[in-house]
């Protein structure tokens, strides 16, 4: 399998706070990685750098042969639109656009809108009957499924999900995790931050952080079920 993500001695400092203190790892295309670790250990920081939302202080972060740290602002914008599908804990849907329009918005920023394709994406996350709803009229799980549809619509190389189930109840969590399963099966590369060991265990591999460094994955998480 080809290497899709290669992180080499990555550091990120915020003033005198060291969020990432020299991290190195690789992700092969098609892998589902769970990123775990206590609060403040640098998980979101890593996701942001890999997704082109933040710049590393030093080291390399290469995604699909692109050294993200070397991109300028417009390069980063293009990188985000073309290579990355983001899924956030707070969903981050645009509140005044319908579910369908939220998906089409990502198409628009990428290239051009295609309503039919956007509808199909929503059908695929089980929201075929909710396309005209505003986010406020959808449950948390439904909103996150819209976000998944939005993340997938441009066929990104890498899906970055920062605690995608953190704000969901168990039933909704189940549906969303089911979606990730399907995406994984279809060959998508997924980096997912999670606090839940049960979810972490579903991934191919787990990367554990503590104080901005990679640490040994706790034994309790080593075996996938």
């Amino acid at each position: 399998m080809a290497t899709l993500v290669q992180v080499e001695n990555l550091r990120k400092e915020f003033g005198n706070v060291c969020a990432l203190a020299g991290v190195s790892f690789r992700v092969e295309a098609g892998e589902w990685i769970a990123i775990m670790g206590p609060s403040g250990s640098g998980k979101t920081t890593l996701i942001n750098i890999l997704g082109g939302l933040d710049m590393p202080t030093s080291g390399q972060a290469i995604v699909d042969a692109i050294d993200v740290g070397r991109l300028d602002e417009s390069g980063l914008t293009r990188f985000r639109a073309q290579k990355i599908g983001f899924i956030f804990q707070q969903f981050h849907l645009v509140p005044y656009l319908t579910a369908l329009e939220n998906v089409m918005l990502a198409q628009y920023f990428h290239s051009s809108t295609d309503e039919k394709e956007a509808r199909e994406a929503l059908e695929r996350v089980g929201l075929g009957d909710r396309v005209e709803h505003l986010p406020g009229k959808l449950s948390g799980g439904e909103q996150q499924r819209v976000a998944v549809a939005r993340a997938l619509i441009n066929h990104p190389k890498l899906i970055l999900a920062d605690e995608p189930t953190g704000n969901l109840d168990e039933a909704n969590e189940e549906t969303v995790i089911q979606l990730f399963h399907e995406l994984h099966r279809e060959g998508h590369t997924i980096l997912m931050v999670t606090h839940a060991p049960s979810i972490g265990r579903l991934a191919d591999r787990r990367i554990a952080f503590a104080h901005g460094r990679l640490v040994e994955v706790p034994a309790s998480l080593k075996t996938s079920l």
């Binding site: 979101t44 942001n48 997704g51 939302l53 933040d54 602002e73 417009s74 914008t77 293009r78 985000r80 639109a81 073309q82 983001f86 956030f88 707070q90 981050h92 849907l93 645009v94 509140p95 005044y96 656009l97 329009e101 089409m104 918005l105 990502a106 628009y108 920023f109 990428h110 809108t113 939005r150």
Partner: protein
């Protein structure tokens, strides 16, 4: 999608939109009314210039204390000095020659008029002048001038005399006292100054037959006179080639404190500046150098001061306009700054999804543009109404609305909205999506 985003962002927070639109309406209303009035002022100034006609009067120096009562010069004809017709061409050789629009010599001769050779003589003033005379200029060209240029508001019924014919035009008041005199009639004039030949050459005592070709109304003393070609008046008075007064019509710059200073006390640079500005004082000075022994006086001073006031009003209006536009831009800036801050989260999400800065700026600008069009259109209507009432109180007549201003106002509104949004937009483009997404 762009349209959808703009529409959505446009209908949101209507209170703030109304505020921005109101700021634009006020700014544009003030701009419309002041620009309308400023244009009106300009037009009025131009009209004033056009209708101004003669604004300078040249007389012989000895002749500065006229004994004029009711428009009749009671001095004996030969008492004052005369000016020579042959020098007139030199007026078109002075530095400001192109500002000399025209000039007309006048020669008054007291005379008697008879309707036929044997009828009762009537005493009247004969005024010799030019209607449209070709004057040769020393540089070899020639220049057509006369009443047609300097006294355009004199209205003639019938036609004007030809300067080289035995024709005349009768003043309306005089015509009223001579019921038989109409266009086409021939009358006889005789000089009424038999005893003055001691100093001047004797005028002809022969009656001259003149054909009346028109009746003129001047709203001036000439209404009581008979206007004849200058040459005929010269013949009657016995002063060939001479005249008494010269009306000059010159385009001048309104006087200011600089123009009123004494040129003799100026530094050489100041003097040059003064000499090279078409002030009445500098043009008068230049006229005196080519027509020595004359006095040049300004007439229609009223128009001059009015012009000065109008141009000051114009300046004031510009200041008010700029202030109103500045205030509108500030209001736009304040509201759009709040809007941008309020929508920070949404901007952050869009950026994370790969929206470019220019696209986000485009959405905001399109929205501001819509507001500018709405505010500008309403402001134009309000401002036009304002100009009507303002114009009425300033000039006595309402300033008519000018459609040409409509696109201008819309453009200004767009610029104001654009300038007002510039700083908030710059800020938005520097938003870093990462902290926004983590909820900071």
């Amino acid at each position: 999608m762009f349209g959808r985003l703009v529409r959505e962002s446009f209908v949101r927070n209507p209170r703030r939109k109304v505020l921005v639109a109101a700021a634009l309406v006020v700014g544009m209303a003030v701009a419309t009314s002041t620009l309308t009035i400023a244009l009106e002022v300009g037009d009025r100034l131009a009209r004033e210039f056009r209708s101004l006609g003669a604004n300078l009067l040249v007389t012989p120096q000895a002749d500065t204390l006229p004994i004029e009562i009711g428009g009749v010069d009671y001095r004996p004809v030969n008492e004052g000095a005369y000016l020579s017709e042959t020098d007139l061409g030199k007026l078109k050789t002075i530095f400001w020659r192109h500002n000399i629009l025209g000039f007309t010599p006048f020669l008054d001769v007291p005379a008697t008029i008879q309707q036929s050779e044997n009828s009762d003589p009537i005493l009247a003033m004969i005024v010799g002048t030019w209607y449209a005379q070709n004057v040769s200029v020393p540089d070899g060209t020639s220049f057509k001038t006369g009443l047609s240029v300097t006294h355009p508001w004199w209205k003639v019924q019938g036609r004007w005399f030809h300067d080289d014919a035995n024709e005349c035009v009768i003043g309306s008041a005089l015509a009223a006292t001579m019921p038989g005199v109409t266009a086409g009639k021939v009358i006889y004039v005789t000089s009424r100054s038999p005893g003055d030949s001691a100093q001047g050459q004797p005028g002809t005592t022969q009656a001259i037959a003149l054909k009346v070709v028109g009746i003129v109304s001047t709203d001036d003393a000439e209404d009581k006179a008979l206007l004849v070609p200058l040459a005929i008046a010269q013949k009657l008075s016995g002063h060939p080639g001479q005249f008494r007064q010269l009306f000059v019509s010159a385009l001048t710059k309104p006087a200011d404190t600089f123009s009123e200073r004494d040129p003799l006390k100026m530094t050489p640079t100041e003097y040059d500046r003064w000499f090279c500005s078409p002030y009445i004082s500098s043009i008068s000075f230049q006229i005196k150098t080519v027509l020595p022994g004359t006095d040049v006086r300004t007439i229609r001073r009223v128009a001059d001061t009015e012009g000065r006031i109008l141009s000051r009003v114009g300046t004031l209006l510009w200041i008010v306009t700029l202030a109103a536009l500045g205030a509108a831009a500030l209001a736009v800036a304040a509201t759009s700054a709040t809007t941008v801050l309020e929508r920070r989260a949404e901007i952050g999400v869009m950026k994370a999804l790969g929206a470019t800065n220019s696209l986000i700026a485009g959405i905001f600008l399109a929205e501001q543009l819509l507001l500018a069009v709405a505010g500008g259109a309403i402001g134009f209507v309000v401002g036009a109404a304002l100009a009507r009432s303002l114009g009425a109180s300033v000039f006595g007549t309402p300033a008519s609305p000018r459609l040409i201003l409509f696109p201008v106002i819309l453009g200004i509104a767009a610029i104001v909205a654009f300038v007002g949004s510039l700083i908030p937009l710059r800020r938005a483009s520097h938003f870093n999506p990462a902290p926004i997404l983590r909820g900071e």
